[in-house]
């Protein structure tokens, strides 16, 4: 038994996991239309490389990074998730808390589901790590835990000695990692070895699982022993938010990642179990990321379960497949703690959709009336990042963004522990999201303002110069005309004089 540490704060939550973790993962139906947003990850949007009317095959790249190079900017390609014809490239509603539209590629499927050419890289071990990394970048893989950071950028072999595969899955309701670990432990472990190779041979490789997923744990343990892989399968306590990168690292290694730094700064990289499987598929089978596992659950669903869904599938297709109950009042993408509500279900499943919680009214508790903060400190005790949520709330409410920053708002992972514990029922995380958004926007405005200042200065300078030039031109002209006048007078005088003389 290896020694484990504890992170500060955290909360124990009702899991609601048994709703959806009993049934095996099923394939979702192929929808008539697939809607693939150009931006499904954190970073820059991709650019379409296909045109309307073009026929595409499953797994074919349809949108690529800036200048077809995924290492320059934070970006990763998008692939067709089934075969068919491109029918539109236009703005469509995307799953985002704003409910706004963003550019998407729409494919009308032909039902054949024909694969594009797949080139596996089975002998990756003999090749330098960069070859497999390029494969992963080309496959469009992002962190599938929900954050959506392009994975190839987290696979740079710079002094990484520990690889952690995150199977904690601490959010209530979500069970896709649990099911995957039970059903495909071999692929997760194979994916972990590939990642390890790409990282230049990390010394330790740990797969961490919360202790409420006993079956997943034994499945992985058994497979690891059979394959004699050098991986450590470790059970961690079930405390929310165990799945947070920094929390998991602390529990497993006792090390703290500094504020504002990435785990790589202390030689650690964390990847989700689904990402490991996607890496396995990309390298060993030559398949791009075209589908993901989604938990569809909540009391508005007849058969809550996990499905392997093609990216771009509209949510209503998936909800229909699981059995929609009547009187649905709320749809949440993500878990009940960190997810956000969507205005309707006519939006596509994207790379970051780990779960859909569909609720009828009886599951929504009436939000309690927020009361003033009594400075009890319960929030600070619960915060896993050692922040002072009550101070953050105070300054965010007063719109004092400088102070909010001084209290490290950008370290807040929006886990919601503070709001959960708050006896005054203050929606603390809403204030933090608001403050973060304002700060980011003001930085953007600042950049624009700097540009405007430069242009204004240049214009003032230009006007001055033009005025000066005009003045000198005027003077010259005047001088010239004065000269000519004088000569004219002289000439006239001379003429008259001559006349006079004769």
């Amino acid at each position: 038994m290896i020694e484990l540490w504890q992170f500060h704060g955290g909360i124990k939550l009702e899991g609601h996991k048994s709703l959806s973790n009993k049934n095996p993962i099923v394939q979702a139906n192929i929808p008539q239309f697939l809607v693939l947003p150009l931006l499904q990850h954190i970073g820059d949007p991709t650019k379409p490389i296909v045109e309307v009317g073009e026929k595409v095959l499953k797994g074919q790249m349809i949108a690529h990074c800036h200048e077809h190079d995924c290492s320059k900017r934070i970006s990763t390609p998008v692939h067709a998730s089934s075969s068919g014809t491109i029918v539109a490239i236009e703005p469509r509603a995307v799953p985002h808390p704003s409910g706004l539209r963003a550019p998407c590629i729409v494919i009308e499927t032909d039902g054949q589901d024909t694969w594009f050419e797949r080139v596996p890289l089975t002998d990756y071990m003999e090749l330098p790590p960069s070859v497999a990394r390029t494969y992963i970048a080309q496959a469009g893989i992002v962190g599938l835990g929900g954050a959506g950071f392009p994975s190839h950028l987290k696979l740079k072999p710079e002094g990484i000695d520990t690889l952690i595969i995150n199977g904690a899955e601490c959010e209530p309701y979500i069970t896709c990692d649990d099911r995957l670990m039970r059903e495909e432990p071999d692929k997760i472990i194979a994916g972990a070895s590939i990642i390890r190779h790409v990282l230049g041979g990390a010394k330790r490789c740990i797969i961490a699982i919360e202790d409420n997923k006993a079956e997943a744990y034994s499945a992985l343990l058994e497979t690891a022993q059979q394959q004699q892989e050098q991986v450590e399968i470790i059970q961690v306590p079930t405390i929310y938010p165990m799945g947070g990168e920094k929390q998991l690292i602390h529990v497993l290694t006792g090390q703290e990642v500094e504020r504002g730094k990435l785990p790589a700064s202390i030689g650690i990289v964390v990847h989700n179990v689904k990402t490991a499987r996607a890496v396995y598929r990309a390298v060993q089978q030559g398949q791009a990321l075209i589908s993901r596992i989604v938990t569809v659950t909540g009391n508005g669903i007849k058969n809550p379960q996990n499905l392997e869904v093609r990216l771009g599938t509209p949510m209503h297709v998936v909800i229909e497949q699981c059995g929609r109950k009547s009187g649905i009042k709320r749809l949440i993408m993500g878990g009940s703690m960190m997810g956000f509500a969507l205005p309707n279900d006519d939006m596509p499943i994207v790379k970051t959709t780990n779960s859909l919680i569909v609720s009828r009214n009886d599951e929504i508790e009436t939000p309690s009336l927020p009361m003033p903060c009594i400075r009890c400190g319960a929030c600070a005790n619960a915060c896993p990042i050692h922040l002072l949520p009550q101070q953050l709330y105070w300054y965010a409410k007063a719109k004092d963004f400088k102070k909010v920053r001084d209290y490290h708002i950008f370290d807040c992972i929006e886990c919601g522990c503070c709001a959960y514990e708050c006896p005054s029922h203050i929606p603390l995380v809403s204030y933090y999201r608001y403050a973060k958004a304002e700060i980011i926007a003001s930085e953007r405005d600042r950049k624009k303002a700097d540009l405007a200042r430069q242009r204004h200065e240049f214009r003032t300078f230009r006007l001055k110069r033009e005025k000066a030039e005009k003045a000198t031109r005027h003077k010259q002209k005047k001088a010239v005309s004065d000269n000519s006048k004088e000569t004219a007078i002289k000439a006239a005088l001379e003429k008259s004089k001559a006349k006079y003389d004769t």
Partner: protein
Amino acid sequence: MIEIIAIGALGGLACLFGLLLGYASVRFKIEGDPVVDQIDVILPQQQCGKCGYPGCITYAEAIAKKEEEINLCPPGGEVAMLALADLLDREPKPLNVNGMEETLSLLAIIDESTCIGCTLCIQACPVDAILGAPKQMHTVIDRECTGCELCVAPCPVNCIKMVEIPQAVDTWKWPYPIVPLTPEDQESKTEESMEPLL
């Protein structure tokens, strides 16, 4: 004897530090007026003149000389006013913008079919965001327009319109949380969220 040594030592130290300070003031001399620059950084740089000054920098100079209030810039709004109050250690004041709203982000659009190419708007634009030549249709460079509205009035054929910059996923902001304050408030809010969604 001891007194002389003490006086000598202290005197020497005084001279030394005096020289050091003198050197530092030359070596690390700050160009320009740092307060004006700090104020200017807070102002939104629309150059719209709604504060009554021709451009943000002149308003910044007036504030720095304590000749002017800090609450006159409508585009900057409450945020800029609070930042100025904080910087200058003055009392925050409600915005005094003569009925002018805290302006949203706007963008000028020229109706290119009506434009007669008179160049009047180019002359009005404080940031050279309009492209065009005499007798040719003019157009606004979106990225550089500050939304100051100065080009609207001079146009003799009224072909310039200010439009709101449409919200996009990457510029959308989480709103300020609206929390119910009374039980009645809350009931109406809950009822709203109980409307069937799908």
